[in-house]
C-alpha cells in the first residue's frame, strides 16, 4: 500500500480486509442508479447494502458501450425516469446517511467531462462516494481524472481484461488506488450461461505481481455457484446484471444478495 492513501482508498481496503478476515471474498453488488425508478432505487440499494462489503452504483448513461443489453436497458429506464449524474450523486448522499458501507460510482467519462472534472469530484466527495470505476478510461489516457479524484479523497479503479498484455496489466494495476477490476471474459457486462473462469487465474496471478490493491473480478457472475468459483481466486466478486434481471423479473433482490454473498464464502 502506498504511503498517502486517500480517505476513500482506506475505507475500500478496510472493507476488503474485513471480508478476508471473515473468510470470504468481498461481495460487491452493482445497481444502476434510479433503477427501476428513482423512488424505488433506495429500497433496492438498502437491500443490497445489507449484505454488501462494497456497493457499486452506476450513473445511467445514454451510450454505455462497455455494457451488455441488461445494464443498457436499465440505464435507458433510469434516464427516462429523470435520473442522471447529479441525481445519482444525490441518491448516494441519501444512502450514505443510512449506511457506512463503502460506495463506489461506476461512470463512463463523458458525464465527468460534462459536469467538469473538478466539480464532479467535489459533488462525489460531498455525497460520500469512496471511489470511481471508469470502464472507458484506460489509465494512460487521462492522468488529470485520477489526480483530481485523489485530491478529493476518492480512490480510482481501472480495469484489466483477458486480452491485456503483461505491460498493460502492470500499468493498470499500478494506477489503481481503490481496487483492481479484472474483467473475467472478453466481452461486455451481462450474466452468461456457463462460467468462463478459464483465463482468470492466470490473469489474476499476473495482476497480483504489480497491484498494491485488492483484485476483484466481474462480468458474468450470476449466482452463488459462479460467485463461489470466483471467490476462490479473487479478493472480491462484482455482480451486476443478475440483480437487474432479478428486479425486472420481480424476484426478491435481498434473497438473491444473501445467496450470492454466501457464495463468496471460501
Amino acid at each position: 500500500m502506498t504511503a498517502t492513501l486517500t480517505r476513500g482508498a482506506e475505507r475500500i481496503h478496510a472493507a476488503f480486509d474485513r471480508a478476508k478476515a471473515a473468510g470470504r471474498a468481498a461481495f460487491i453488488p452493482f445497481m444502476t442508479a434510479g433503477y427501476p425508478t428513482a423512488e424505488a432505487f433506495p429500497a433496492v440499494a438498502d437491500a443490497l447494502l445489507e449484505h454488501a462489503d462494497l456497493l457499486e452504483v452506476g450513473i445511467p448513461y445514454s451510450d454505455p458501450l462497455g455494457d451488455g443489453p441488461t445494464i443498457q436497458r436499465a440505464s435507458e429506464q433510469a434516464l427516462a425516469g429523470g435520473t442522471s449524474t447529479r441525481r445519482t450523486l444525490a441518491l448516494v448522499k441519501e444512502l450514505r446517511a443510512r449506511h457506512d458501507t463503502p460506495i463506489v460510482i461506476m461512470t463512463y467519462v463523458n458525464p465527468i467531462y460534462a459536469v467538469g472534472p473538478r466539480e464532479f469530484m467535489r459533488l462525489a466527495a460531498d455525497a460520500g462516494v469512496d471511489g470511481l470505476i471508469l470502464p472507458d478510461l484506460p489509465p494512460d489516457q487521462d492522468i488529470e481524472i485520477a489526480d483530481l479524484a485523489a485530491e478529493y479523497g476518492l480512490a480510482v479503479t481501472f480495469l484489466i481484461a483477458p486480452t491485456s498484455t503483461p505491460e498493460r496489466v502492470k500499468l493498470v494495476a499500478q494506477a489503481c488506488t481503490g481496487f483492481l477490476y479484472a474483467v473475467s471474459v472478453t466481452g461486455v457486462t451481462g450474466a452468461r450461461e456457463g462460467a468462463a473462469l478459464g483465463e482468470v487465474p492466470a490473469m489474476l496471478a499476473l495482476a497480483r505481481e504489480h497491484a498494491q490493491v485488492p483484485v476483484a473480478v466481474g462480468f458474468g457472475v450470476k449466482d452463488a455457484a459462479t460467485a463461489r468459483q470466483v471467490a476462490q481466486v479473487a479478493d472480491g466478486v462484482v455482480v451486476g446484471s443478475a440483480f437487474i434481471n432479478a428486479i425486472r423479473e420481480w424476484r426478491d433482490v435481498g434473497a438473491l444478495a444473501v445467496e450470492i454473498a454466501r457464495g463468496c464464502q471460501r
Binding site: 448513461y61 458501450l65 460534462a114 486480452t163 472478453t186
Partner: protein, 425 residues
C-alpha cells in the same frame, strides 16, 4: 508503384490532435488498437500492399475521380469558378469505398476473416459488404432499426453482397447506437475480428488511418487542378461533415501547408432545422467537448453528459460528433465549419440537378449550397473545389417525399433562376 499514403504531423504519439482524439475505450480493446496501429504502420510502407490498393482504386473503384468544372452552376452563382470533385463517380456511389477497400485489405493482411461495420444511411455498409465480397471475408453490418426502415434498398444490397445485417434497437435506433453495437461486438470478438470503421472518428489509430486512406481525394485534386488551372491549390475547398471522412480526405493534403499556401477549408455541418432549434447535427456550432466512441471531440451532449440525438435531412450526416482532427482544425483556425440547414441542402440538391444534370447525395448538397454563396464572395478570379462526396440515388425516395410535402405547401415552383435567388438571398 504510384500510390503513397501520406504522413502528416498529426496526431501526436498518443493519438491526439491537440486535446482531441485519444483512446477512450474498454481496456479489452487497447491491445487490439496497438496491434492495428502496428499493422497499419507496416502496411503503409509495404509496396505490395500499396500496389494492390492502387490497383483496386484504379480498376475497381474507378479512380481517379474526375475534377469537373461546373460551368452552368458557376455562371448562375456569378462569381468564382466552381469545380466538383466527383467522388459520386466511385463504384458504390460515394467516397466510402476508398476507406472500406483499404481497411478490408488490411484485415486480410492481418489474417482476420471476420469484418464488422456500422452504417447509418447504408453507404458505408454497402461499401464494407462490397469490399468483403471482393476479398472473400465474412461481413456483419450493424444498422439502427430506424435507418433500416429508411434505407430498404441499401439493406437489400448488403444482403445480396453476402453480408449479415444486424438490426439495432437500443437507444435511438440510429447510427450512434449501431456504432455502440459494433464496438460491443468488437470487444467480444476482438481476437478474430476486424472493425471497419466508417469515418474519421473512433479511437486512435482509426481517425488517422481513415484520413490517410481518404487523402487520395485531395492528392488527386492537386494534380488535376494543376493541369486545368496551372495551380495545385484552389482558393477554397468546401466539403460536408458528419463524422468528416470525405472532408478530411480533401482537406488534409492542404491542411498542413504553410498558411499563405493553404486554401480556405470549409466544412458544412448539418444544421437540420437550424442550430437554434436544437434539431440539428452541427457538432462544432452546437456541441461541446465530450467523449464518444473512443475519442474526445465536439459532441452533442447535454449538461450532464448524456448524448443528444442528432437530426439531419441526410442520414449520412446524422451523427452527434465530429472527427477529432476537424475539432483541432476548428480550434486552431485551419478550417472553418459553417451550418447549412435541411431546407438549404434540399434547395442546393435541386439547383445542381437542374443546372448540371447531377443529382448529389443530400450530404454533398450541404457543401454545394455553401459553395454557391461563397462563389459570389470570392469573385470571378477565385476557384472553389466542392467535394461531391456521393451521388443522390439513395436519397431520391426521401427527396420525393419531402418535395411532395413542399408542393402541398405551395413551395415547389422553383426554376433554376428562382432557386438561385433563394440560395443567394
Amino acid at each position: 508503384m504510384s500510390l503513397n499514403l501520406p504522413s502528416y504531423p498529426q496526431p501526436d504519439g498518443r493519438g491526439r490532435y491537440g486535446r482531441f482524439g485519444g483512446r477512450y475505450v474498454p481496456e479489452t480493446l487497447i491491445p487490439a488498437l496497438d496491434e492495428l496501429e502496428q499493422a497499419y504502420g507496416a502496411a503503409k510502407q509495404d509496396p505490395e500492399f500499396l500496389n494492390e490498393l492502387d490497383r483496386l482504386f484504379k480498376e475497381f473503384v474507378g479512380r481517379p475521380s474526375p475534377l469537373y468544372l461546373a460551368q452552368r452552376l458557376t455562371d448562375h452563382a456569378g462569381g468564382a469558378k466552381i469545380y466538383l470533385k466527383r467522388e459520386d463517380f466511385n463504384y458504390t456511389g460515394a467516397h466510402k469505398i476508398n476507406n472500406c477497400l483499404a481497411q478490408a485489405l488490411l484485415a486480410k493482411r492481418m489474417g482476420k476473416q471476420r469484418v464488422i461495420a456500422e452504417t447509418g444511411a447504408g453507404q458505408h455498409g454497402v461499401a464494407s459488404a462490397t469490399a468483403a465480397a471482393l476479398l472473400g471475408l465474412d461481413c456483419i453490418v450493424y444498422m439502427g432499426a430506424e435507418d433500416i426502415r429508411r434505407q430498404v434498398m441499401n439493406v437489400f444490397r448488403m444482403k445480396l453482397l453476402g453480408a449479415e445485417v444486424r438490426e439495432v434497437t437500443s437507444g435511438t435506433s440510429t447510427l450512434k447506437d449501431a456504432t455502440n453495437e459494433a464496438i460491443r461486438d468488437w470487444v467480444t470478438n476482438v481476437r478474430d475480428t476486424f472493425y471497419i470503421l466508417g469515418s474519421v472518428v473512433g479511437p486512435h489509430p482509426y481517425p488517422a488511418m481513415v484520413r490517410d486512406f481518404q487523402s487520395v481525394i485531395g492528392e488527386e485534386v492537386k494534380v488535376q487542378l494543376q493541369a486545368l488551372e496551372g495551380r495545385s491549390a484552389p482558393d477554397a475547398i468546401v466539403a460536408c461533415v458528419g463524422g468528416g471522412s470525405n472532408a478530411i480526405g480533401i482537406f488534409a493534403p492542404y491542411a498542413y501547408l504553410p498558411e499563405d499556401q493553404r486554401p480556405r477549408l470549409i466544412g458544412t455541418e448539418a444544421a437540420g432545422e437550424g442550430v437554434e432549434s436544437g434539431k440539428h447535427a452541427a457538432s462544432v456550432a452546437g456541441g461541446r467537448i465530450g467523449v464518444l466512441h473512443g475519442s474526445m471531440m465536439y459532441l452533442l451532449n447535454d449538461d450532464e453528459g448524456q448524448i443528444v440525438p442528432p437530426h439531419s435531412i441526410s442520414a449520412g450526416l446524422d451523427y452527434p460528433g465530429i472527427g477529432p482532427e476537424h475539432c483541432h482544425y476548428s480550434q486552431t483556425g485551419v478550417a472553418e465549419y459553417v451550418p447549412v440547414t435541411d431546407a438549404q441542402a434540399l434547395e442546393a440538391l435541386q439547383l445542381l440537378t437542374r443546372l448540371e444534370g447531377i443529382i448529389p447525395a443530400l450530404e454533398s448538397a450541404h457543401a454545394v449550397y455553401h459553395a454557391v454563396k461563397l462563389a459570389r464572395e470570392l469573385g470571378p478570379d477565385g476557384i472553389i473545389v466542392v467535394n461531391l462526396s456521393g451521388r443522390g440515388d439513395k436519397d431520391v425516395a426521401e427527396v420525393m417525399r419531402l418535395l411532395e410535402m413542399e408542393r402541398d405547401e405551395g413551395l415547389l415552383d422553383k426554376d433554376p433562376e428562382r432557386v438561385i435567388e433563394g440560395v443567394l438571398a
